[in-house]
């Protein structure tokens, strides 16, 4: 059952995914996934476990190779112009995997250097994000000594500090305390107002409902619905139902 189709994928969209296919052996993770994220949009990618969300994100940041279809970031095809595409991206992975033996500040400096940033720029950015996420006291702590939530905040800061045009985040608020979640959302809203395209994969439906401007729901590697919350409600004739109810109806209908 297809509730909506897929929005027009304009060339100007910072994130464009067209008929993406990916398999792991016999398991078909993505089956012709298509969607796009426009400048200033906060796009929530939802779906049950194993729907293909993380696979999609990993393809977008060049970690996985698509079997078919295309994905472009800021107009650069991720397969053909990977380097150019990656220059536009800030990425937060699903697991908080970082450099265990660097301090938080060193970790952020290192990422900044890898991005080719100037110290005069990134030192200010690092200070800003350490303050924003209450990490100042942990600036000289080793990454391996951080809790899950702290490590997550460091990875988010690392993604934000180069001021990317595209943010791709897999469960970015996992483990974060409410204060950090608030700071994170405020910062993302500010960046989106400046035109940054944000793609978030999450299971936190309450957060997505209040935070994302558009939502895409994938099931079995295919986009089954897309739109604002009101549009999705209209598709399933759900009145003023919450995103959770809408999600359950849509996913249930697809199974």
């Amino acid at each position: 059952m297809m509730y909506i189709l897929v929005s027009s994928t304009r060339n100007t969209s910072p994130i464009t995914v067209k008929r993406l296919y990916k398999s792991y052996g016999k398991v078909r993770a993505l089956r012709g996934l298509t969607f796009s994220v426009n400048p200033g949009e906060i796009y929530g990618l939802l779906g049950p476990n194993g729907a293909g969300k993380t696979t999609t994100l990993k393809i977008l940041v060049g970690l996985l190779r698509p079997d078919g279809g295309s994905a472009a970031i800021c107009g650069h095809d991720i397969a053909r112009e990977r380097l150019e595409a990656l220059k536009c991206i800030g990425y937060v992975p699903e697991n908080p995997v970082g450099f265990q033996n660097l301090t938080v500040r060193e970790f952020l400096r290192y990422i900044a250097e890898l991005r080719g940033l100037e110290p005069s720029f990134y030192e200010k950015q690092i200070d800003r994000y350490l303050q924003l996420f209450n990490l100042e006291e942990k600036a000289d702590a080793l990454y391996k000594s951080l809790s899950r939530g702290m490590a997550q905040k460091v990875l988010v800061a690392a993604a934000l500090l180069p001021r990317p045009r595209v943010l791709i985040m897999d469960e970015p608020m996992a483990g974060m305390d409410p204060e950090a979640q608030h700071a994170f959302k405020e910062e993302i809203r500010r960046l989106s107002a400046e035109g940054v395209a944000v793609l978030i994969s999450s299971h936190l439906l309450d957060m997505v409902e209040r935070f994302c401007t558009r939502v895409g729901i994938i099931v079995g590697g295919r986009l089954v619905a897309e739109g604002s919350l009101d549009e999705l409600r209209g598709r399933v004739e759900a009145g003023d139902a919450s995103l959770e109810e809408v999600f359950l109806r849509l996913v249930g209908g697809e199974r």
Binding site: V61, G62, L63, L64, R65, R82, L83, L86, K87, I89, Y91, P93, N95, V97, G98, F99, Q100, N101, L102, T103, V104, R105, E106, R109, Y110, I111, A112, E113, L114, R115, G116, P119, A139, D140, A141, L142, K144, S145, L146, S147
Partner: protein
């Protein structure tokens, strides 16, 4: 104990699952069993000259069945002594074992017995490769007794490790007594060595029996009944020790076996050098060179010539041990063990962090030379320390050339290890702190590189004696080799889909 058996089954499945479930895995097992059976048949049916292969090499170095248990036993037991002296408990267990399994109604004793059973089973199963290899390099060995002896050796090693762990966990807060007891025992063994003008069997005592059985199962001499008897007794002793460990573990908590990481480890942040190349060189290479993990290598490297001279003095004062022979035996093993260490370090470190480079750097040509240099450094340190020891002991500067002749081998081993881990991590999701760092299937995949490291090191240690110019040739050869390896590695890392 039936619960222990169930848990052991679970642990084995968790470790060897991919091998047991897939058709390719089952075929591989069948092929291995066939090769093993064929090799055993050859070993029984065909008589080979006894002085060929590794045995002939060892005899030329002065190692025989009668002294091998003491020499090897001392080396292997040193791991225990170091563990006890260090005094830090650490049962290697996965997060799932810690947070899921031990949260079930399972006693620590049951878990430990299960763990020992599973470890024994998996270790013994993976030893089939070594077993087949040993039959080839020790012509005239007693195939079935060799297998039994190796099972005894593995069982003894594992039981002793867990017993020591429980002992340390029980005496938490009073570890100083364990350290004192261990240091006193070592002092006694040293005194005995000096008085008897030889390496004391006290050093090797914890593993003497199974090693005796193993040594005589691969020797031409050696009574079959005696070997079988000693191996059986060793297995029974290991089982008894396992039960004692389970018994004295009563009242322990899971956190006693795997103490939680205490947060807040702090050091002053440093500036990361400006520029991508400088930053990567600093973090990947220099940090690793100065890091805690490499300090053991560096200390060994610095101490090697000093120890060499001291042991020469001890020898000239009457201590009848041929230390260079020990180094010739141990260095190839150390190089091979380095393969295991670097593969684990690479899986948990570089490959787990590879997403950062792939996303923020894109191009791997900046990373690969430093990654390669870092892992070459680990292998090279093994060769350099051995060379320094041998040169100091014999006062023959030519032996320093081993450090140079080892360079191409170190480079190729580093390259092979990294290619292997890149491939491994693209095949499965990286699980941090798996019971052994690697699953048993991965261990099997690593084994060819392990054996290659051993054999390459054997060659390295014979080259300078035969060919002094080999040092210069090796360094010259290393330059184009490095250029090729770093380009090839960059391509492999770029293509690899790490599933972190």
């Amino acid at each position: 104990m039936s619960k222990a058996a169930v848990i052991a089954k679970l642990l084995v499945k968790e470790q060897a699952g991919p091998l047991l479930r897939s058709r390719a895995g089952k075929i591989l097992i069948l092929v291995m069993l066939f090769v093993a059976a064929f090799n055993v048949w050859i070993a029984v049916a065909v008589e080979k000259p006894a002085e060929t292969g590794l045995r002939g090499f060892l005899h030329r170095l002065g190692v025989y069945a009668w002294n091998a248990p003491v020499i090897l036993g001392t080396l292997l037991s040193l791991a225990y002594y170091m563990y006890l002296l260090r005094g830090r408990v650490g049962v290697l267990m996965s997060d799932a074992e810690y947070e899921l399994l031990l949260a079930q109604p399972v006693t620590i004793g049951e878990y430990l017995v299960a763990k020992m059973l599973a470890d024994n089973l998996l270790f013994a199963a993976s030893m089939i490769f070594v077993y087949v290899f040993l039959l080839d390099v020790f012509p005239g060995a007693k195939p079935f007794l060799l297998a039994l002896s190796m099972v005894a050796l593995v069982a003894s090693f594992i039981s002793l490790y867990y017993f020591s762990t429980i002992l340390l966990a029980r005496t938490r807060g009073k570890v100083v007594y364990i350290r004192l007891a261990c240091a006193s025992y070592l002092a006694l063994a040293t005194l005995h060595s000096i008085l008897s003008h030889g390496l004391s069997a006290l050093y090797a005592a914890p593993l003497y029996l199974p090693l005796w059985a193993t040594a005589y199962s691969i020797s031409i001499s050696g009574d079959r009944a005696a070997v079988a008897g000693v191996a059986t007794i060793s297995i029974l002793l290991a089982a008894a020790l396992a039960l004692v460990s389970a018994r004295i573990s009563r009242g322990l908590y899971p956190e006693d076996l795997r103490p939680p990481r205490i947060g807040g480890e702090v050091k002053a942040s440093q500036l990361i050098p400006h520029g991508r190349r400088n930053a990567i060189r600093h973090v990947v290479l220099w940090r690793a060179a100065k890091g805690r993990g490499n300090r053991v290598f560096l200390v060994a490297l610095l101490a090697a010539p000093l120890i060499g001279r001291l042991l020469y003095l001890a020898h000239s004062l009457g201590l009848e041990v041929n230390f260079p022979v020990i180094v010739y035996m141990v260095a190839p093993l150390a190089a091979a063990e380095t393969v295991m260490l670097v593969v684990q370090a690479s899986l948990g470190g570089e490959m787990a962090q590879l997403w950062i480079y792939r996303v923020y750097l894109g191009d791997m040509t900046l990373l690969s030379p430093y990654l390669l240099a870092k892992y070459t450094m680990y292998f090279e340190e093994v060769y350099a320390a051995s060379a320094a020891f041998l040169a100091a002991y014999t006062l023959d500067p030519l032996l320093l050339g081993i450090a140079a002749t080892g360079l191409p081998a170190a480079l190729l081993l580093a390259y092979a290890s990294l290619r292997l881990t890149a491939w491994l991590s693209s095949r499965r999701r990286i699980v941090r702190e798996t019971p052994k760092g690697l699953y048993v299937v991965d261990n099997m995949v690593v084994l060819p590189v392990y054996l290659a490291a051993f054999l390459a090191s054997e060659v390295v240690f014979t080259l300078p004696l035969a060919l002094p110019a080999a040092s210069v040739a090796s360094v010259v050869l290393a330059v184009p080799l490095f250029a090729w390896a770093e380009r090839s590695l960059a391509g492999a890392l770029y293509r690899c889909e790490v599933r972190c």
